[in-house]
């Protein structure tokens, strides 16, 4: 088999290259341990590439490390964000719990100090059309709540009364700000009896206050107990304005002491405390 010219050239080049390599190698061997001229020359010729490669390798290494660091930082960032969100949620829950605890403590204090037997209830809803009209609580007939049971706030201010229908575990409260509500009241300073009714907008008005009676602004309004529904002496609110009219009665506006649309807990007065009530007769159930 004859060799082509190209193959011969290739083989010749291979031979030349290998001989050159061997010369280069042998040129270094006698001076091994000492830098030879050839070594220095080749090293000098290749040093820029070496530097470039070292810089390139260093850059790639740095970039890779930076990338890894960024990834770790990103993961850590995500973890910390999750932790912050969890902590915020817990803080919100704690604040809510604290608020509820304060309210419940207030309810308990009132329940202990009052001469009435009260049933604490949670406000579960309000009138969809006018929140100043009625609200719904989570206690009903099974807890002793009946029609006309007075309802007060945790602070002991009048809220309204239970109206029908009363379900075993839900009841409707007619607020004192309802236009159809009527409460027998007494003005604390002038000792004038009147009837308090709602105006439907969060305020109340007093009816049947004679023009001759002096009603001071900021005068306290308490329940009179004459209506046989609400107990006597429960604080309702303060007079905000009063003025004579063309009729024989004054026009008096009252601001309730409690913001009725912001209530979360209420107390339903379901009776007097056992020691204050008359001894129960056989057949009667304990309140």
């Amino acid at each position: 088999m004859t060799m082509t010219l190209a193959r011969r050239r290739e083989l010749t080049l291979l031979l030349v290259l290998q001989i050159a390599h061997l010369i280069v190698i042998s040129g270094q061997i006698p001076a091994h341990g000492r830098t030879t001229l050839l070594e220095t020359a080749i090293f000098r010729a290749l040093s820029p590439f070496q530097r470039a490669a070292a810089v390139g390798a260093s850059w790639i290494s740095r970039t890779y490390r930076g990338y890894v660091w960024l990834r770790e930082a990103s993961a850590e960032n995500a973890r910390l964000r999750r932790e912050i969100e969890t902590a915020r949620l817990e803080l919100t829950r704690s604040r809510a719990d604290k608020g509820e605890l304060d309210r419940l403590r207030q309810i308990l204090r009132l329940a202990e100090s009052w001469p009435y037997q009260v049933e604490p209830a949670l406000v579960i809803g309000s009138d969809s059309l006018n929140p100043m009209k009625t609200m719904f609580i989570n206690k009903g007939s099974s807890s002793g709540v009946r029609q006309n049971s007075p309802v007060v706030s945790p602070e002991g201010f009048l809220v309204g009364r239970i109206i029908t229908p009363v379900a075993p575990s839900v009841a409707t409260v007619q607020l004192i700000t309802d236009g159809e509500a009527s409460v027998g009241v007494i003005l604390a300073t002038s000792r004038t009896y009147a009837v308090l009714g709602g105006m439907g907008d969060g305020r109340c008005s007093l009816r049947y206050v004679p023009n001759i009676v002096e009603v001071a602004a900021d005068e306290e309004v308490l329940t009179s107990g004459l209506d046989q529904i609400y107990p006597r002496g429960v604080f309702i609110g303060r007079v905000t304005s009063s003025g004579p009219t063309s009729s024989v009665f004054k026009e008096v506006t009252v601001a309730p002491a409690v913001q009725l649309n912001r209530l979360e807990h209420v107390l339903v007065i379901i009776g007097d405390k056992p020691q204050l009530t008359r001894p129960s007769t056989p057949g009667e159930t304990e309140p």
């Binding site: 290739e10 290259l17 290998q18 390599h21 190698i25 080749i42 090293f43 290749l46």
Partner: protein, 171 residues
């Protein structure tokens, strides 16, 4: 194979070798990127391109590893030529041939280096067992690299053909 392609390939191989050596000091026992580059250049080009790139790659490797200059060039030049010659006669594309070819070529290169180290009484960098490990590593990495680049190339060619066909139909 263009001159620029040869130079780029060698530079990439050198950077890969330096970088891998920094990341893992024992990498030279399992992989020799410069030998791999020489084999790939020989497969893509001619025996002349293979042996020239082998010679340059050998010098580069020795310069960067405090070796006696030229020791690595002998094996790489021979391997570059041999792979180029084999590829010129039988076009090697199948994995079944690629793996043993790269394995065998790498084994020869490592064996020559070890032999020269012993003859010249140079403290060895590679040991007889390295013949197996470097060859296996090179065969695996080289085959994967070639297959991936071929797939990219085929995809690019297909896209170009579709584009040309689209131009013709629109005319």
């Amino acid at each position: 194979m263009s001159f620029l392609g040869v130079v780029s390939g060698l530079v990439i191989g050198l950077v890969a070798q330096v970088l891998l050596g920094r990341l893992w000091s024992h990498v030279h026992q399992y992989l020799n990127p410069l030998t791999l580059v020489v084999i790939i250049l020989a497969l893509r080009g001619s025996p002349t391109a293979g042996m020239l790139s082998g010679s340059i790659a050998g010098f580069m490797q020795d310069a960067f590893s405090a070796q006696v200059l030229g020791v690595s060039s002998v094996g790489k030049t021979l391997v570059g030529y041999a792979v180029g010659a084999v590829n010129a006669r039988f076009i090697v594309r199948s994995t079944v041939f690629l793996v043993p070819l790269i394995f065998f070529a790498s084994a020869v290169e490592v064996a020559i280096s070890i032999l020269l180290d012993r003859i010249l009484e140079i403290s060895p960098v590679l040991y007889p067992r390295s013949i197996l490990t470097v060859s296996a590593g090179n065969a695996l990495a080289g085959t994967v690299f070639i297959k991936i680049t071929e797939r990219f190339k085929n995809r690019r060619n297909s896209a170009a053909s579709i584009a040309r066909l689209g131009e013709r139909t629109s005319i």
